[in-house]
Symmetry: C3
Subunit: 359 residues, 3 copies
């Protein structure tokens, strides 16, 4: 309690927002010719795993996300009258708000469930019955649950689309979409299969593919674009088992080159993209991994390289990097809203309201 006005209050709310420049998404938009068909097709799917997607569908999702990002406001919000059931049985603010913001910006209404103790599940209700309830009360479900299998149990009974917003240690496909959207805004040419050798990138992932759903989904996406990637380096502690059974084999079968390293600073000078995450959600708690790996102002980052982080961050990523050109994690977080807007429009089968769809 100061008895005078705090100096911070003398300044106006900053209207400048460097992460919100429209040049990057505009450039990505121009790289991708509009084609509604892949999204119309996607509109009849639940979204649980990155494995359900392909390059064509992703390109159109990225294009639509970029359209949303470069368009200040929608004149006719395509989801007016639609209701989202935002069911976060595992605590989350960031992912929940990102989905809810996306849905609101599309004009829809929301019902949130943030407290599992308040649900019939606490009384022993089956997830199938919960899904049956959701069919009657909403138009689309976003589910986070710390059990890998919950989303699959729901699908058996659902007649409305569901999006997996994190299922235990398994997947988190929309987070990985946001990662990829950031990468393609940075380098749109990586979208294509004919990337020239000198444009290919080295990607470092500081994290544990066997334990982190964000990393698991990201790697599945990278395996969708193997020709733009020179090498993926997984940087983990000695003590962590980097891959779960069969995971590495599935990824390598796509043609992606993957190497494991236990050392960070030796790898950084060669990495074009550095993805870092320290937290793995396991059951109803979280594990912290790779405590010795930290990115800071003294890290030997390659000039022009970008850092991604799914956030929230701890001290593995220094705030001193926030004001450098390596900071793409804020743009990544911002883009998460727009890529989700694109996906939500698609699954609500309202693509025809924002694209020249034939269907």
């Amino acid at each position: 309690m100061v008895n005078e006005m705090h100096p911070k209050l003398e300044e106006p709310v900053s209207p400048k927002d460097w992460t919100s420049g429209i040049e990057r998404p505009m450039s990505l938009l121009e790289h991708i010719p509009e084609d509604p068909e892949p999204l119309v097709e996607l509109g009849s799917q639940h979204i649980v795993s990155v494995r359900q997607l392909n390059q064509d569908k992703m390109a159109q999702l990225f294009r639509l996300a970029a359209l949303y990002e470069t368009t200040p406001s929608l004149y006719q919000p395509p989801l007016t009258g639609k209701i989202l059931i935002s069911a976060f049985y595992e605590p989350s603010t960031r992912t929940r708000l990102s989905f809810e913001s996306a849905w609101h910006r599309l004009g829809g209404d929301i019902m949130s469930i943030t407290d599992p103790a308040s649900t019939g599940i606490a009384k022993g209700e089956s997830l199938r019955d919960v899904a049956e309830m959701f069919n009657n009360y909403g138009d689309l479900v976003v589910l986070r649950d710390n059990h890998n299998t919950a989303v699959y149990e729901m699908i058996d009974a659902l007649r409305i689309p569901i999006i997996n917003a994190g299922n235990g240690t398994d997947e988190h496909p929309t987070q990985a979409m946001a990662d990829m959207y950031a990468i393609f805004k940075w380098r749109p040419e990586l979208l294509y299969n004919d990337v020239p050798e000198e444009k290919k990138v080295n990607i470092g992932i500081i994290g544990v593919p066997s334990r982190m759903r964000t990393v698991r989904s990201l790697l599945l996406f990278l395996a969708m674009y193997p020709r733009g990637v020179k090498e993926v380096v997984i940087i983990t502690s000695d003590e962590d088992e980097a891959f779960s059974e069969g995971q590495l084999e599935e990824l390598e079968s796509s043609g992606l080159k993957i190497r494991v390293s236990h050392e960070l600073d030796g790898e950084l000078p060669e990495l074009d993209v550095v993805y870092i995450n320290a937290i793995a959600w396991v059951g109803d708690s979280f594990e912290t991994h790779g405590k010795s790996f930290k990115l800071g102002p003294d890290s030997p980052l390659k000039p022009g390289s970008i850092i991604l982080h799914p956030l929230a961050r701890g001290d593995e990523l220094s705030t001193e990097l926030d004001d450098t050109s390596h900071n793409w994690y804020f743009a990544q977080a911002r883009g998460a809203v727009f890529i989700r807007m694109a996906l939500l429009t698609t699954l609500s089968q309202r693509i025809n309201q924002v694209m020249e769809a034939s269907a």
Copy 2:
């Protein structure tokens, strides 16, 4: 974690929804001539007890519910700009989402209170003062509270309508409305007083009228339509006191015939409607009743009979019955949204926007 696409993800989101067929509500709609007057009159009431309703009001509510159920979307949502205060001081997902979905589908906005610990009540604020606050901040209140008297304390100070969504062990009128709406969609002719003898039905209620608010309200409704009912059989355990003081007498004074049985399978072959519920909310916890009574594929159900359940269910109602024609509990749950839409439109005094009201 499988390293391939889960087979469930190969199939499209099912567009088919057998509970959402419009034939049943359309048939009910055709049975009831439109008359806005009873609803205009109802529009000046709080809704706390089934005792406030009568056949005329209910017929018009059912008609409006059927209209909503058969109308895919509202062109001019009648509650645009109206704010619902959704106050669930006792945990609930199903009832809360049903009301919130109904309100959103009518175009309104919602403020939820799901955590009693976060309220002034925790600091000792009176319910009268909370009601005074609600007057200023919203247009209608839905209240669930585990004290039978809370809703009455609020009414003293409220100048906006309140709907009782479950007050302790007392009543839950809108759940019972949903029960009745399901019954009348199944047999519209039961609405009338001149039901021919061969069309009258036997109704079995597996539950405890003295402890379960859902059963208490349902019985009050059945007492409103005694001429369509041959007999109501209450099926309870020996150890439960079936009725609270005066309850049976009040019901019988309507002309309803009521009998208590302690045996399930001997009754089933004669029952046209089987209502089952095992949970009673008492204070801040719940009791489970009638553990020996279970409905499953081997139960001797009468052909053509229907099963109702307020949900959430435990193992008293086998999922193996879900795909049989006895399953009317899903239609009942679905209809709960539409009957609440009808009631909310009425209490918000917007009947004139959806019916040819003179008032």
Copy 3:
């Protein structure tokens, strides 16, 4: 459980609302000539402290609040498409609902955070990073936090406006705006600097300026209008330190006359405005002060005097005063929605949609 209709249910929902008469706000409206400029200027500010405001800005806010209070509904809600992030890291229902009701009535959408345990903050996320997230997901933040400094940490990273809805023991400026709005509806002439001597008022504050953020902010407002106030009497217990360091000096420097008293009933006959509050939020709990000070039907209140209370109340303010003309605390609570509507419209830079703004 009575087996007949409760007598309270026989009566219609009262359409009369004596606090909602439009004479008082209409009179205030007529006292203040419209001038959008001060609000356009205010539109680029965060609102954390009363110190950021002045008489011109407040007069226009009061005018706009009175306009909203006297206008039954907005034809074109100015915040359509805007998203409020309602972040209450300290429990609150009243303030939260008041802000959310205001935002909804202006046509906007809302995302609520009511459970701090569900946030990244619980995992050690910095408030700066939370603020960065808010930039991407919403258009305005309302924050309650039990740390005095939290709102200042957020401001460093925010590019959207924030409103302080209570920061520890420091300030609660919008509550104090509601207090002042009630006072000026009662006596519009106190708005001006040339209040004749016989119209000046004595104001009693039963509370502890050193501990209560509501009182702290109210005193800062009173110091903005010293010429209408004969004297402010702070009525506290002996054991409480009335002022924090420098607080009294800052207030007196405005010309406001302040005196401390430890006796209530001896002061009441001279007081025109009696403000009473017994609770101070400190850390994650609350203190109760002044237990011996109670207002009731036997209190020697000056005829024509008004009572204000930020609510929720305990037994310091008897409900027996509710139906007397001293009760301005209900009007104060009601006005809280309209003054917040005025502020939210201003900070969202939509003044031009409700006033003839040149900007």
